[in-house]
C-alpha cells in the first residue's frame, strides 16, 4: 500500500493548498500519480502540513487490508476528511460480488466526498479536492 503524504498546490488555483495522504490501493492510484505527472497537483515542498488533512482512498479496499485503512485514517490529525476516489472505494465497484472486497471504504471510515469513475480522471480528483477546501 503506497502512502504519499504531502501538501499540494493546485495548478489551476494557486491560492489553494491541500494536505493530502493518498492510499494508493489499486488502479485509481495511477490517476492520482497522473495528476502529479501532468502538473495538476504540485507538491508544495516548502510548506508544512496545514490545518486540514485529506485522506484519499484510491482503489479497492480488501477485507484483509481494511484494518490498515482504518489505522491510516485514525493517524491523521483533526480536522480531517476522507475522499473515496473511484468505484471500488465508493461501493466495491466491479468487485461488488467478491468474497474478499470491502463493499465501499465507508464501511470502515466516514467519507466526505465520493468521486465517481472507474477510474476517475485526474481532473476529477483535483475538482473534488478543491471543492472540499474551498467554500462553494
Amino acid at each position: 500500500m503506497a502512502r504519499e503524504e504531502r501538501v499540494y498546490a493546485v495548478a489551476a488555483r494557486p491560492d489553494v493548498r491541500i494536505h493530502v495522504r493518498d492510499l494508493g490501493l489499486a488502479c485509481c492510484a495511477v490517476e492520482f500519480a497522473a495528476a502529479l505527472g501532468q502538473g495538476l497537483l504540485v507538491p508544495a515542498e516548502d510548506e508544512e502540513p496545514g490545518s486540514a488533512a485529506v485522506l484519499v482512498v484510491s482503489g479497492t479496499v480488501t477485507d484483509a487490508l481494511a484494518p490498515q485503512v482504518l489505522a491510516a485514517w485514525e493517524a491523521l490529525p483533526e480536522p480531517k476528511a476522507a475522499v473515496s476516489f473511484g468505484a471500488c472505494s465508493n461501493s466495491g465497484g466491479p468487485y461488488w460480488d467478491s468474497y474478499s472486497v470491502t463493499k465501499g471504504v465507508d464501511q470502515v471510515i466516514p467519507v466526505t466526498s465520493y468521486v465517481p469513475g472507474c477510474p476517475p480522471r485526474p481532473e476529477a480528483l483535483v475538482d473534488a479536492l478543491v471543492s472540499l477546501v474551498v467554500p462553494a
Binding site: A87, S91, G117, C118, P120
Partner: protein
Amino acid sequence: MSDVPAQARGAIALDAAACTSCMLCVKECPDWCIHIESHNEEVSEPGARRPRTVAVLDSFTIDWGLCMYCGICVEVCPFDALHWVPQHDYAAPDAQGLRYGIERLEAFGPR
C-alpha cells in the same frame, strides 16, 4: 469543470423519450447498477380497431458509485437512448447523491 476532451467518457446521459423500457441495459450491466421501472398503458388511436399498448418509463436510475464505465449499456441500447458525455465533476457528499434519476441523467446534455 476542468477542460477535458469532448470525447472523454465521463458519464452516461439518458434521452428518456427514446427509452422504451426494454431493460436490455439493465440486464447487461455487469454491476447491476441500472434500475428501470415502467408500466404499460393503452393508447387508443382514432381509426384503429384496438388500442395500442405502450411502455411508460416511470423511473431510470444509474448508480455512479457502482458504475464501472464499461459502456455496455450504451452499446446494447437498440434505441440510442444512452450516450457518453465528458462531465467528470459530479462527486457527491454521500452515496445517495451518486444515484441519478431521469432528470439528472437528462441534464448531462444532449448527444
